[in-house]
Symmetry: C2
């Protein structure tokens, strides 16, 4: 890796493993030949384990947003869709739903937990689907997928879940939770470059697709037909498939549950460090929600502006992210997903702490607190 680069501690894209980087410099192959089919099939097979599903899994050449739109547009034709919003990506789901159907929004302040009663009230109005972001990247909160999945089934609605920044860094048992369409983004927990979206599709979801005309590029029925031959209907982003394939091998080598635990512990270490430094986490939780394994959102402390914080940390070789939309300047976010380990966490906390201190903000003890967690829990 190029040591001149800042360490990317943003919520995607994330630093890549050297094997994944190397995979992308392979010469092109025919996307209609047996070698591509083998890579494609192996990717799908491992992805099914990562999604913990027996459902079909499709891989589209496009961003996570493309995956969200593909999911919504294939099962919605003017229907009512309950759309849960407590952050930027929930909002995006609502905007996408509005293009294909009639959103019944269940909205909260960004960063606030959701209430199941509100979701149920909305479902009682009659809806064909519910959309929810599992790990709301914009605010670092994890929404209650299992419970919302249960409600969706109770009301015979499809459960469409953005798992873009959660699958691979959290236990996401898609089948157990009854997620009909779950979406993963390549550049998050799997530590692949951006550019691919994977979607699991349940039998219920396939049934709802009859007579729906999604955008041409996103027609999942057409993707499924090609996938049965180890192909994609339109020319795939071949180097990203090489990268995905190698990254999924790394997931197998590590083991999914070990990988999830590593994410949990890194997140835990970050939160303990924030706590020790007297910084306040942004999400407002209830007992069904929890802090994210993959991104920690923190309120900006008094005495320093976000730009000063970011630049100070950047000068120390680490890149963090700010708040989005109306949260600009109000919060900062540390991504800890993909290949993240103790080293990256400690480097980041050190850079954060010393930047704060430099600006006269009292913020000691972060590294020690993080180290304590990482040592005890063994990362």
């Amino acid at each position: 890796m190029d040591l001149n680069k800042p360490l990317l501690m943003i919520p995607g894209p994330v630093p890549l493993h050297p094997r994944v980087l190397k995979a992308m410099s392979r010469p092109m192959i025919n996307h209609r030949g047996p070698e591509f089919a083998r890579i494609f099939d192996e990717c799908v097979s491992i992805l099914k384990n990562v999604f913990q599903t027996n459902n079909d899994v499709l891989v589209l050449s496009g961003s996570g947003t493309a995956g969200m739109e593909a999911s919504v547009s294939n099962v919605t034709r003017g229907d009512n869709v309950v759309t849960i919003v407590n952050g930027k990506f929930g909002e995006r789901f609502k905007e996408i739903v509005a293009l294909y159907g009639n959103p019944i929004p269940v909205e909260y302040e960004w960063g606030s937990h959701i209430e199941l009663d509100d979701v149920e009230d909305a479902l009682e109005k009659g809806a064909s689907a519910v959309t929810m972001v599992h790990n709301e990247t914009s605010v670092g909160i994890v929404n209650p997928a299992e419970e919302v999945g249960e409600l969706a089934r109770k009301y015979d609605a499809l459960f469409i879940m953005d798992g873009i920044s959660s699958i691979g860094g959290n236990e996401v048992p898609v089948d157990k939770w009854g997620v009909d369409l779950a979406i993963l983004g390549s550049q998050k927990c799997l530590a692949v470059p951006p550019g691919l979206a994977a979607i699991s599709v349940s039998e219920r979801a396939w049934e709802r697709m009859e007579n729906v005309k999604p955008p041409y590029y996103f027609d999942l029925k057409v993707h499924q037909k090609s996938a049965s031959k180890g192909q994609t209907p339109y020319t795939p982003a071949i180097p990203l498939f090489f990268a995905l394939h190698e990254a999924l091998r790394l997931v197998c080598e590590e083991g999914l549950s070990t990988r999830v635990k590593r994410h949990e512990r890194c997140a835990d270490a970050v939160r303990m460090a924030m706590n020790a430094m007297g910084l306040e986490l942004f999400p407002r939780l209830n007992k069904l929600s929890r802090y994210s394994n993959t991104v920690t959102a923190v309120k900006m402390p008094e005495g320093i502006a976000y730009k000063q914080l970011r630049d100070g940390i950047n000068n120390r070789g680490v890149l963090i992210a700010g708040g989005q939309a109306h949260l600009k300047g109000k919060i900062f976010r540390i991504g800890h997903m993909g290949n993240v380990s103790a080293k990256e966490i400690l480097t980041t906390i050190e850079a954060l702490g010393s930047t704060l201190v430099e600006h006269g903000v009292k913020a000691e003890g972060g590294v020690a607190a993080a180290e304590q967690v990482l040592k005890t829990k063994g990362i």
Copy 2:
């Protein structure tokens, strides 16, 4: 390059330059930072030269088909659209148009030239746009873009042109021809991996976009807003932008007109070789159409099946393509785009000739004929 790979002489993806391969193994960067913006802006700036346009040029993370759908869906809302079809990709345009508007097809047998009178008859019915594939990859014919552009302007219709496998290997003066939306695919003449589509958008096209609601991922107005900050609205396929950037530098080093001439001469050499070997080219031309610079489609000779031909050539280290849909088994196609030079052309002709001879098909003199062209014209 891996010498175990067959030489890809299919109409995309094409072999990549080592510098382009290397560019993709760069570590990830923040897609919202200044470095990405610089790469993005430089790509757009060089692409404008390649498109010979002062129009805006946008780059989407998706295949050429994504680019076709983005173009149609942003300017069509139930309108009549004249769709010219003389091959598989013209057919695809028609299918996409049918999702967003009402296609008025101007259809020909695949591989046959088109007639301007037919296009004008269709335009007289009243249409908001005309779609045409410039270089119809499926049959190796180049359709008369300048003339169709003129007709489109005469009837105040937008001209939407698939230049996916033509731009960068042909002179495509987008502004001179009045192309309102021109689409390029990364894996063709630019010799980038697949996964990016570039679209030029004229002022007339921007005006038509008011009140049209395209798919979320394809909303060109949103892309344009981000592009003005050197960004994409949704996370871009970063390694493909690295590759595009490096490939466009190579285009600058070679010079666009030299690059186009190289494509012309390689195509000429292939056609002369086919002629010498007694093979018949597939397209049926009139005086306004011409053979493709980037892919040559040839009728299967008597005495050998396509599979035998493909396998024989493949055993000699070269991969060619067959016919698509109803042309399967009827034609074979040689791609000659991107970094193609005399060496690849001669290797391919040699492999083709010796495979034919092995199967008892009389096919001598191909290499000599190609060499003659290449030597005389200096590739």
